[in-house]
């Protein structure tokens, strides 16, 4: 689908997507979009429109035209297959029990050695 059409609402206004960062240690988060004739006005409006109360460390504005993304038909392919446990910590849930088993066996041996001497 050609989304360029959406952006050409007026040939002198553009849609900008707004991202902001709450603090130096947080990631940029998408806020919303706005309509502006250029990036300077977009940046000023971003603050007025979306950040009147929240603390904010930094703001980005990006022309929507410059974002390349997935079409609605492609998005379902992002759904994760349920066979990735080898990539995740939950795929290794048996480790603690096994470590405990070895510690207990060791402690048992130690106890017998002590009572034997």
């Amino acid at each position: 689908m050609d989304m360029n059409k959406e952006t050409e609402v007026r040939d002198d206004f553009f849609i900008y997507e707004v991202f902001s960062q709450r603090s130096v240690s947080s990631s940029f988060v998408h806020q919303f979009s706005l309509l502006a004739p250029n990036k300077e006005v977009a940046l000023a409006m971003a603050r007025e429109n979306f950040l009147r109360r929240e603390t904010c460390f930094n703001i980005w504005v990006v022309k929507r035209d410059d974002i390349y993304g997935l079409s609605p038909e492609e998005r379902p392919f992002l759904e994760r297959l349920d066979n990735k446990s080898y990539r995740e910590t939950r795929g290794y849930g048996d480790l603690q029990a096994r470590w405990r088993h070895h510690r207990e066996q060791y402690e048992e041996k130690q106890k017998h050695a002590e009572s034997g001497s």
């Binding site: 689908m1 050609d2 989304m3 919303f32 006005v41 974002i67 993304g69 079409s71």
Partner: protein
């Protein structure tokens, strides 16, 4: 945003079935997803009306910015007016993305407003003659708005849901701003209490009308279509009952009355029984024939024209440094 070409091997019927199945299982629709024309049109009608109402709603309160009784009140009501304009900006953006495939823009919405083709909420056609009106608008009009908007937080149209999440958080401040003004007057002198009582009496029919006519009323409404599309989840009357249950006791606790001598709570039906407002009058008001309709539209139009030079100046700057 750019994406690859759309698959077009599905028939319209198959697309419609997939769309309904998706919203039935709680799925959300994005601006670039396929949607039935009827769904798009319902959304455009609802969201452009909501967006324009936010902007027109700033006007009765704006009148009170220069006349607010203290500096703190002035700052608070200015912040509220600014929030309402911000909400208008958010919602107009959502409406614009829906209008884009039809070749329409924000300017078309403004022109529709000036030509009275695009309606805005009945409450913003009314007068706000005293400071108590500013309080009642924040307390009860914003209170009513929170009830309708909270219902739509789970709407099937994702961009509208995201806008409403931002809006509802700020509306809570607006309601508290109104409550604070109302409590100050309610705890004040006899004159202040009388001013507040008059404002409540004046706003009562408009507040009942705010939620729209009941389903069996004489005005055809799009409620059932909107509910099938999961754009909304409750009927006008259900929302009005939520409002009455929340606010009528508070009005009574402060020792005030509403202009309805037969109003009472039916325990068995678990609902308030009230006298219907004049729905014919409602029809006239939203058509643009309310007490302040012409004045407010004129304000909006004048402001749009008088700030044209600012937009032109920005354009000319943009072209030079672009």
């Amino acid at each position: 945003m750019q994406t690859q070409m759309e698959r077009s091997d599905l028939t319209e019927n198959e697309k419609m079935e997939a769309f309904l199945a998706k919203i039935d299982r709680g799925g959300k629709i994005e601006a670039d997803d396929w949607m039935p024309d009827d769904y798009r049109n319902q959304l455009i009608k609802l969201i452009s009306m909501h967006g324009i109402s936010e902007i027109m709603g700033a006007l009765p309160e704006k009148e009170w910015v220069p006349k607010a009784p203290t500096l703190r009140r002035k700052l608070a009501i200015m912040a509220k007016v600014q929030d309402e304009m911000g909400h208008g900006q958010l919602l107009l953006r959502v409406a614009e993305d829906l209008l884009a495939p039809l070749g329409k823009t924000r300017e078309d919405l403004m022109n529709d407003l000036f030509a009275k083709r695009l309606k805005f909420h009945n409450v913003f056609h009314m007068e706000a003659p005293t400071w108590a009106d500013a309080g009642v608008i924040g307390w009860l009009v914003d209170g009513a708005a929170i009830i309708t908007q909270s219902m739509s937080l789970d709407t099937s149209y994702a961009p509208y849901a995201r806008a409403l999440h931002r809006i509802c958080a700020e509306e809570k401040f607006h309601a508290q701003h109104g409550e604070s003004i109302v409590l100050e007057l309610a705890e004040g002198t006899e004159e202040q209490r009388q001013m507040l009582q008059e404002a409540i009496t004046r706003w009562w029919p408009s507040l009942l009308m705010f939620f729209g006519p009941p389903e069996n009323g004489t005005i055809t409404s799009n409620q059932s279509a909107n509910m099938r599309y999961k754009i909304r989840t409750q009927t006008n009357e259900e929302l009005r009952q939520v409002f009455l249950k929340k606010y009528l006791p508070r009005i009574f606790h402060l020792g005030f009355t509403v202009p309805d001598e037969t109003i009472h709570f039916d325990e068995e039906k678990d609902q308030w029984v009230y006298q219907q407002p004049d729905w014919e009058q409602f029809k006239q008001i939203v058509k643009g024939n309310g007490p302040r309709s012409a004045h407010r539209l004129n304000l909006r139009e004048t402001s749009y024209e008088e700030t044209k030079w600012v937009r032109d100046a920005i354009m000319s700057y943009g072209r030079h440094v672009g």
